[in-house]
C-alpha cells in the first residue's frame, strides 16, 4: 500500500512541476579529476553571467560518460567530464540512445606525480624503477623471474633501503591507465623485460599485458577512493609513496614531497613542454542537441576554454591545470559547434 501511495504522490508532485526541458541550469557529471576545474569554472560562470551556476557532479569518467549517453532531454546531463578520451564503444552506446552529435573539448593537461612523506627520503625515479618495484615478474640477469625486490635499495642501489609501499590508483580510475601506459609499460621496455618476454615465446599483446600487471603480494596497494585517501595512507605509513594529481600535490606541499621522474621535477611548465613524461589530456564532452535548449550551455563551454579561464594565467592554471598550447583551436571548434564523427 505504502508503495502505491508513494508513487501516486510522486506523480502528483511531478504533475505540478513543469514539463520536460524546463531545466534552466547546465548539468555536468563525470571525472573526479576534472571536478575541481569544472567547479571553479562553474562558479566564475555563475558570477559573470545571468545564468544560474551549473551543477557539477563527480563519480568518475566512465560513470559520467554513461549518464551522458543515456539519451537526449532534460533528464540527462549536458556535459560529461572525462580524464581520458571517449572510447569507440561509448560513442556507439551514445548513438544507440540517440546522442549522435558530441562535441569534444580538450581543456588542458594534468600531471601525475609521485610523492612521499615530507620528512622521508627523496627519490629520483625512472619508469624502470617503478617497473622493477611493482611488476610481478622482472628481468634479472637475462631471465624473467618472480619479483624478488622488497626494498627500494633492491630496485636501485642509489635508493635508501626503504620498504616498497606503493599506493596507486585503483583500476576504475582514469589515472591508473596513464600510470600503466606512461610508467609501467615504458619501464618494461627500457629494462628489456618486454623483449625477454617476447623472446620467451609470448605474443606481443600478451607481453604488453604482462608488462602493466602489478604485484599482488601486498607491497602495492590499489586506492579506489580519491587522493585524500592516498594522503591518509602515507600519513599512516611513512615509507609509503603515492600517486597524486599535480593539483592535489600543490595544495598539500606541507605534507608531501614530490619525486622527479627521469630527472624532471613536475611543474605546470615542465608538463606543458612535455619534458615531464607522465601527463594526460583532460576533456569534457557536450551534447550538441542541448545547445540552444538548455540556456547557457554554449556560453559555459566557451567560457571554460576562454583565455581568461583556461589560459596560462587563468584560475585553472593557478589551481594546477597545465594549459593547452592549442587552446585557440579548441575555442574555434566550440564556436563552430564542431562534433566528433559519430560511429566511425
Amino acid at each position: 500500500m505504502s508503495f502505491l501511495k508513494l508513487t501516486a504522490s510522486a506523480v502528483a508532485i511531478a504533475a505540478v512541476s513543469a514539463p520536460a526541458f524546463a531545466r534552466d541550469n547546465v548539468q555536468v557529471a563525470g571525472s573526479s579529476t576534472v571536478l575541481p576545474y569544472a567547479s571553479i569554472v562553474a562558479e566564475a560562470f555563475g558570477e559573470n553571467f545571468d545564468f544560474p551556476t551549473p551543477v557539477v557532479e563527480s563519480g568518475g569518467s566512465s560513470a559520467g560518460l554513461k549518464r551522458f549517453c543515456e539519451g537526449v532531454g532534460a533528464n540527462t546531463v549536458d556535459v560529461a567530464n572525462a580524464s581520458r578520451a571517449i572510447r569507440e564503444k561509448e560513442i556507439k552506446a551514445c548513438a544507440d540512445n540517440g546522442v549522435t552529435d558530441i562535441m569534444e573539448v580538450r581543456i588542458g593537461y594534468d600531471g601525475i606525480v609521485f610523492a612521499s612523506d615530507i620528512d622521508g627520503a627523496t627519490f629520483e625515479f625512472t619508469p624502470a624503477d617503478w617497473f622493477n618495484a611493482l611488476s610481478p615478474k622482472v628481468l634479472v640477469d637475462g631471465a624473467i623471474i618472480d619479483n624478488p625486490n622488497q626494498t627500494w635499495a633492491d630496485v636501485n642501489p642509489a635508493f635508501p633501503a626503504q620498504q616498497i609501499a606503493a599506493f596507486i590508483p585503483g583500476t576504475k580510475h582514469g589515472t591508473r591507465e596513464v600510470f600503466e601506459e606512461k610508467v609501467l609499460a615504458v619501464g618494461c621496455e627500457t629494462t628489456g623485460a618486454l623483449k625477454a618476454m617476447e623472446a620467451a615465446g609470448m605474443s606481443e599483446d600478451d607481453a604488453e599485458d604482462a608488462c602493466i600487471k602489478v604485484r599482488t603480494d601486498g607491497l602495492s596497494t590499489d586506492i579506489d577512493g580519491d587522493y585524500t585517501e592516498t594522503l591518509a595512507r602515507i600519513d599512516a605509513n611513512k615509507d609509503g609513496i603515492g600517486v597524486f594529481g599535480l593539483a592535489f600535490y600543490e595544495n598539500n606541499t606541507d605534507k608531501l614531497q614530490v619525486a622527479t621522474m627521469s630527472g624532471v621535477t613536475p611543474t605546470t611548465e615542465s608538463i606543458s613542454t612535455g619534458e615531464y613524461p607522465v601527463s594526460r589530456p583532460l576533456f569534457f564532452y557536450v551534447k550538441k542537441a542541448h545547445i540552444g535548449v538548455i540556456p547557457g550551455l554554449k556560453e559555459y563551454a566557451e567560457f571554460f576554454v576562454s583565455d581568461e579561464v583556461a589560459g596560462p594565467d587563468g584560475p585553472l592554471a593557478e589551481y594546477g591545470l597545465v594549459s593547452d598550447p592549442e587552446l585557440a583551436l579548441t575555442q574555434e571548434a566550440i564556436a563552430n559547434e564542431q562534433t566528433i564523427a559519430s560511429g566511425s
Binding site: A10, I13, Q27, T53, V55, E57, T228, E250, D254, E308
Partner: protein
C-alpha cells in the same frame, strides 16, 4: 533431599556477622561486576569526550574567517567606458576586468599603511585575497551603478592560506614550496594585522552561504545544502508520517491475525535492518531511471531533494511503523473496551481514544526517524547529491524540491574529500552544525515524551 538432611549437622556453626569464604567470594564477584560496569561507562564517556573535544577543537575554526578591508576606487574608465551607466554595458566587464582595480587598491593600502614589502606585482598581491573578491565587487557594482567613480570599502575574504596562518594551521615553513602564498606575504599580513586591516571575525556565510569551488574554501557555506536537507525532511515528514501511522493502525487494530499479516510484520522488521545504501540503489533504479527516465516525470531527476526525500522516506518508514505500533500497543485494552462498550465504532475508538493517547509515542518515533534520515549519507551519494551542487539557492518553494541540491551530511563528505586542507576544517564545522540539529531534534523528542507520556 536426604543428602541435605545428612549434610546439615556437618555445617559449621558460625556467627552471621563473621563473613565466611563463600560470602566473601560472592561479595567480591558483585564488587567486580560493579567495577566492570563503572569501567564500561567511564570508557564510553571518555570516548564521547574525545569525540566532542576533537570535533569542537577542529570545527570551531570554521565559524570565524579572516577578512581584509580594502577601499577600492571603482574607476569609471575600467568599469563603464562609455560613461552612460547602461547596465548591459557594465555587465560586459567580467570579473577578470576587476582584477587590476583590486591590485591597485591593495598597493594603495600598503602605501597608506606604510608597510614594507618586496611584493609589488598585482597578481602576487591578490593572493592575499580570496578569488571571490572580484565577484563580490562586480555584484556590488551591478547593484549600485551610481557608485562607479567612488571609492568603496569592501570587506573581502582573505585567501585560505592567509586564514590558515591566522588560525595557526599554516606556518612559514609550510609555505616553502607552496606556490599559492609565500613567507613574504605573511610578513605583510603581520603588518596588516597590527594596522587593523586584517581581522578575524564571525562568518555567518559559513552557516547560510552556498558551496564554493575548490579554489576558494573560504567562501564555502552550508546554507544551501541545509535547505536541501530541509526539503528532504519535509518530503519524509509528509509521506512517512501518514503512511506509517495508517499502516500501523491498520496492522495493530484492524488486520486479522493470519499468515499474511505475520509475513508483513516480519518483513517490516527486516526492512528496518536493511542497509541504507540498498535504498539508494533502489532510488536510482526506480525513481530516477524508471520514473524519471522511462515514465518521463521531469521532477524525478538526479540530485533533486524530492528524490532524496522519497528514498529517505522508504528508509524511515519501518522505524516509524515499529515505534507507532509499540505506542498503540502500550494503550491498555480497557480504554478500547470502554469506548466500544459505550457504543463507539471501531474507527471512533481508534481515532477518538487510542490515537490521541498514543500520539506522544508516535511523535517521538517520528522525530527519531527524521533525525536518522537527516544524518544519512550513503543513499544520497548514489542519487547524485554529492559534487559541486549546492551552489544556487532555490528560486521558490516548489523549485526547492526539484532543483539540484545536496544535503548536510553529503556536503560534509564532499568537503572532506577536497584537496585544500581548509575544506577539512569546514567539514568539521559542518559536523558541529549537523550535531546541533540532531541534538535539538532528540531533545524535542525527549521533552515531548516527558510532557505528554502517560503511565498506566
Amino acid at each position: 533431599m536426604t543428602d541435605a538432611s545428612n549434610a546439615a549437622p556437618l555445617r559449621e556453626k558460625k556467627s552471621l556477622l563473621v563473613v565466611d569464604a563463600r560470602t566473601k567470594k560472592r561479595n567480591a564477584a558483585e564488587a567486580r561486576f560493579k567495577m566492570y560496569g563503572i569501567i564500561a561507562i567511564t570508557l564510553g564517556l571518555l570516548f564521547l569526550a574525545v569525540l566532542l573535544t576533537t570535533i569542537i577543537s577542529r570545527g570551531t575554526g570554521a565559524f570565524t574567517q579572516t577578512f581584509i578591508s580594502v577601499p577600492v576606487e571603482l574607476r569609471e574608465d575600467k568599469l563603464d567606458k562609455k560613461g552612460n551607466r547602461n547596465l548591459e554595458d557594465i555587465k560586459k566587464v567580467s570579473t577578470f576586468g576587476y582584477n587590476p582595480l583590486l591590485g591597485d587598491a591593495l598597493s594603495a593600502v600598503i602605501a597608506e599603511g606604510g608597510f614594507t614589502t618586496e611584493i609589488t606585482k598585482s597578481k602576487e598581491l591578490r593572493k592575499l585575497l580570496s578569488s571571490s573578491a572580484v565577484g563580490q565587487m562586480r555584484a556590488y557594482v551591478i547593484e549600485n551603478t551610481d557608485q562607479i567613480g567612488q571609492t568603496v570599502t569592501f570587506d573581502f575574504f582573505a585567501s585560505s592560506r592567509v586564514d590558515g596562518y591566522i588560525k595557526g594551521r599554516v606556518t612559514r615553513e609550510d609555505l616553502a614550496r607552496d606556490k599559492n602564498l609565500s613567507a613574504e606575504h605573511l610578513d605583510l599580513v603581520d603588518q596588516m594585522i597590527e594596522a587593523g586591516v586584517v581581522r578575524k571575525k564571525f562568518n555567518p556565510s559559513f552557516i547560510f552561504g552556498a558551496d564554493a569551488s575548490e579554489s576558494r574554501p573560504e567562501q564555502a557555506g552550508l546554507g544551501v545544502s541545509m535547505l536541501g536537507s530541509l526539503f528532504m525532511m519535509l518530503v519524509v515528514l509528509f509521506l512517512a508520517l501518514p503512511i506509517g501511522v495508517a499502516a500501523s493502525i491498520y496492522l495493530e487494530e484492524f488486520a486479522p491475525k493470519n499468515r499474511l499479516t505475520d509475513l508483513i510484520e516480519v518483513n517490516i522488521s527486516n526492512l528496518a535492518a536493511v542497509p541504507s545504501i540498498v535504498f539508494g540503489i533502489l532510488g536510482l533504479a526506480f525513481f530516477i531511471q524508471f520514473c524519471g527516465g522511462y515514465l518521463g516525470i521531469a521532477a524525478m531527476k538526479a540530485s533533486a531533494p524530492l528524490v532524496g526525500g522519497l528514498v529517505l522516506t522508504l528508509m524511515t518508514l519501518p522505524t516509524i511503523i515499529i515505534s507507532t505500533r509499540a505506542a498503540l500497543k502500550a494503550v491498555p485494552p480497557s480504554i478500547r473496551d470502554a469506548a466500544l462498550g459505550v457504543g463507539a465504532s471501531k474507527m471512533q475508538t481508534v481515532f477518538h481514544h487510542v490515537l490521541p493517547l498514543a500520539a506522544p509515542g508516535i511523535l517521538t518515533g517520528t522525530i527519531i526517524g527524521l533525525a536518522q534520515a537527516l544524518g544519512e549519507t550513503a543513499p544520497l551519494l548514489l542519487i547524485g547529491m554529492v559534487g559541486y551542487i549546492a551552489s544556487n539557492y532555490p528560486d521558490s518553494v516548489l523549485s526547492g524540491f526539484t532543483d539540484p541540491n545536496s544535503a548536510m551530511p553529503a556536503q560534509i563528505f564532499e568537503w572532506a574529500k577536497r584537496a585544500d586542507p581548509a575544506f577539512y576544517e569546514r567539514a568539521w564545522g559542518g559536523i558541529i552544525i549537523l550535531l546541533v540539529f540532531l541534538m535539538t531534534m532528540n531533545i524535542i523528542a525527549i521533552l515531548l515524551r516527558r510532557r505528554f507520556e502517560r503511565r498506566w
